[in-house]
């Protein structure tokens, strides 16, 4: 994507700006949706503020896409209320639809049309004026960096370029609210970064973004606020830092200690010594690596290494990790996000 335009504000600044705005971009209240006997959305509520990037994070089948499709008026639901920009949203809410852009998870373009024709067609569904449309199409093509591929048919494009085309078709009419439903599935790292930067740029230009993914790193990287859902229920909501603060683990230290593999007594003594440290929350030994979970602290690594030296345990490779959203998900649900 073309990332030459600077992103003017930090996430914190943007969050501060938004608090002043009264009407949220999306307000979903206690949404319930069944697929037969299966409960897909379990009184799910959501409030997306204007101009933020709102992440909807959850494992596959957690109800992210169902929630989005209900919000967009495509799916029926059993109960609850959906409002977009303060207005009730339904299949015939054409004025609202005009302000919304959607980048679906599957590639939704015509294989028989060129890149330019595809973008132009989807633009024509929103913008009647041909002259204005031409400008918007050019802008969208430039934005996703498909200038060299204007006359290409989708079949000739790589996976990453196809994703860009899919995005261009969804944003060409400059919507105020854009839904990105797992836009980086099956995309190479380079294209993924370009897509994420493009989303941040769209947000910087004033669009509110709803971003669904099961890739926690992406959500953490670009979203101002994150709602974690599982089994159609909200598990947690907040900024990435707020979510991480919800769990006890502030730091996870991994230490290679091959000498502990043989002696059971030494291993037990060492683990007990580490557990005695005030900041240590949990200690595990697997293969030849000790994993020490600590609460947030400035000297955790030093304290742990000192304890190992006192126990005469030689150490190899040492690394320290801050907790991820997966840790949050694991702590809150007992299962891994990637399961």
């Amino acid at each position: 994507m073309n990332t030459t335009a600077p992103i003017p504000t930090s996430a914190a600044q943007r969050t501060a700006q938004r608090t002043a705005q009264p009407t949220p971009a999306i307000r979903v209240t206690e949404l319930v949706k069944h697929y037969g006997d299966n409960l897909a959305l379990d009184y799910l509520s959501m409030e997306v503020r204007r101009d933020e990037i709102y992440g909807l994070l959850g494992p596959n089948g957690s109800g992210k896409t169902t929630a989005i499709n209900c919000i967009l008026g495509l799916l029926t639901y059993d109960s609850g209320e959906i409002r977009i920009f303060g207005e009730p949203m339904g299949p015939t809410s054409y004025d609202l639809k005009r302000r919304i852009g959607v980048v679906p998870q599957d590639i939704a373009v015509f294989n028989e049309l060129t890149v330019e024709e595809n973008i132009s067609y989807f633009c024509s569904l929103y913008v009647a004026d041909r002259a204005r449309r031409t400008g918007l199409v050019d802008e969208a093509i430039a934005f996703v960096g498909l200038d060299d591929y204007r006359t290409y048919r989708p079949r000739k494009l790589s996976g990453g370029l196809l994703r860009r085309l899919n995005i261009a078709c969804g944003i060409v009419h400059k919507p105020e609210l854009i839904f990105f439903d797992e836009p980086t599935v099956a995309v190479d790292p380079q294209s993924r970064n370009a897509i994420l930067e493009g989303i941040e740029q769209l947000n910087a230009q004033g669009s509110t973004i709803v971003y669904t993914s099961h890739y926690m790193e992406e959500v953490e990287q670009i979203c101002d606020r994150i709602q974690i859902i599982d089994h159609g229920r909200q598990i947690a909501l907040g900024t990435a830092d707020e979510l991480k603060r919800m769990i006890d683990v502030g730091e996870r230290i991994s230490i290679e200690a091959p000498s502990l593999t043989g002696g059971d007594d030494t291993r037990a003594r060492t683990i007990a010594a580490l557990r005695d440290l005030p900041a240590v929350h949990d200690v595990a030994f697997e293969q030849d690596t000790l994993t020490v979970s600590c609460v947030q602290g400035a000297h955790n690594l030093i304290d742990v290494l000192q304890a190992l030296r006192q126990a005469d345990v030689p150490v190899g490779h040492v690394s320290s990790h801050t907790p991820t959203l997966n840790d949050v998900f694991l702590a809150l649900t007992g299962t891994d996000l990637r399961d």
């Binding site: 697929y35 495509l74 679906p104 015509f110 989807f122 569904l125």
Partner: protein, 422 residues
């Protein structure tokens, strides 16, 4: 709606499989029919045969034989050996013109005629007149062997048969007259008797009951047009499927646009209708100008027929496309299956299928009435064979009724805008 119309048009015309099945396939099949049935009508047509005529003294004496031979030539040839040119017989040719039967080369003797037919294979045989004034026909070996080859000489057997019949009739009359002259010559003073003798026997006479000369093979081409029309349902099926959120990601994206579904579907329908019309028009022009199949010269009605056929086809395609709980692939498969199966009932697949089609028309007319391929076939049939346009407009009415019912049902299915599942 306009941009959807243009886009659908572009998509339809770029979709290679549609282009093949709807533009190339009918032409290929017509060409195949042309190869199969092209000689069918030629088999019954009179072809001009080169014959030698032994113009000896017997021939010059037999005024009757001269008159008969002259009657079967477009430009009668008078042999130099004969002093006078006979008047050609007045042949009531009707539709078949017997003056195209012979192209005569006079020769002086039987030996010369034999040499000629042995050296020039284009000369089919020779005619001689014996001392009694009776005509005899001899055909060459080459002609004998080519008589069974209907591909290279399709009209030869029937032309030889006509010539043989004419000679036989002439000889029987000549013998009868000669016998009466011998036994009771006075009877020729009886005018009623002489008129009866001169009168040609009542053989099979060709009469035209239909608006246009019947063409055995035309039905196959009409059934092919009907199949093409039904195959073109694919256009409408694809158009509807690509606008339904529960059938494709494209449909989902289009459902999210601030444009009513009716306008999107209308644009797609009009484009598909135009494509079907063009596909039928191309097939029709090929069938008429290359395969020489007539539409009775009623071009306005023929164009109206393909307008109606393409409209009905797209209405049925819209219905098929809107059926709930079926995937897009299944609907396309059903389109092909319906087209092929219904074409069987309208007689596309050969004489057996034609017999089945006729049987259905006679014994189960309701089945024929609700079969769209049969009705499209009937459109062209009505144009060609009936003097009145009433049968044609009746068929138009049946197809339009089918189309309206299909669209009404499709509207019921397509009114749904939100789904329980996607």
């Amino acid at each position: 709606m306009w941009s959807t119309f243009l886009t659908t048009l572009r998509i339809n015309l770029r979709e290679k499989s549609s282009l093949f099945w709807l533009f190339c396939f009918p032409i290929l099949l017509s060409t195949m029919f042309l190869g199969m049935f092209g000689n069918l009508s030629a088999t019954y047509e009179v072809t001009t045969m080169r014959f030698a005529m032994v113009a000896n003294g017997d021939y010059c004496k037999s005024e009757g034989a001269q008159q008969l031979v002259a009657a079967m030539q477009r430009t009668p040839v008078t042999p130099q050996t004969c002093d006078t040119a006979p008047d050609a017989m007045d042949v009531d040719s009707g539709v078949t013109d017997l003056r195209d039967l012979l192209d005569v080369t006079p020769v002086d003797s039987t030996a010369e005629a034999t040499d000629l037919i042995n050296t020039d294979t284009d000369v089919r045989g020779f005619l001689t007149v014996d001392g009694d004034g009776l005509l005899h026909m001899t055909i060459s070996r080459a002609t004998v062997s080519s008589v069974n080859d209907t591909m290279s000489t399709p009209g030869l057997p029937v032309s030889l048969s006509i010539l043989d019949g004419a000679i036989g009739m002439f000889n029987r009359q000549a013998l009868t007259v000669a016998q009466i002259m011998t036994s009771d010559p006075a009877v020729f003073t009886n005018e009623v008797f002489t008129a009866a003798v001169q009168e040609a026997p009542g053989f099979t006479r060709q009469v035209r009951l239909t608006n246009f000369k019947p063409d055995e093979s035309a039905r196959y081409y009409y059934a092919l047009l009907a199949m093409t029309a039904l195959m073109a349902m694919t256009f409408a099926v694809t158009t509807v499927c690509s606008a339904q959120a529960n059938l494709s990601a494209l449909g989902m994206r289009r459902s999210l646009a601030p444009l009513t579904r009716l306008r999107q579907l209308m644009g797609g329908f009009l484009a598909s209708w135009l494509c079907t019309f063009c596909s039928l028009l191309v097939a029709l022009l090929y069938i008429h100008f290359v395969c020489r199949i007539s539409f009775g010269g009623r071009w306005a009605a023929t164009l109206l027929a393909i307008v109606v056929a393409s409209f009905a086809s797209n209405a049925l395609g819209t219905l098929l496309g809107s059926l709930p709980k079926l995937t897009a692939g299944t609907k396309i498969g059903l389109t092909t299956a319906f087209s092929c199966a219904l074409s069987l009932l309208s007689g596309l697949y050969g004489s057996g299928a034609m017999a089945l089609s006729d049987w259905i028309q006679r014994n189960a007319p309701v089945v024929a009435t609700i079969n769209p391929t049969q009705q499209v076939t009937n459109l062209f049939y009505d144009i060609l064979y009936y003097d009145s346009y009433a049968p044609f407009f009746r068929t138009v009415g049946i197809l339009l009724t089918m189309a309206v019912l299909a669209l009404a049902l499709a509207t019921v299915f397509l009114r749904r805008q939100r789904y329980a599942h996607l």
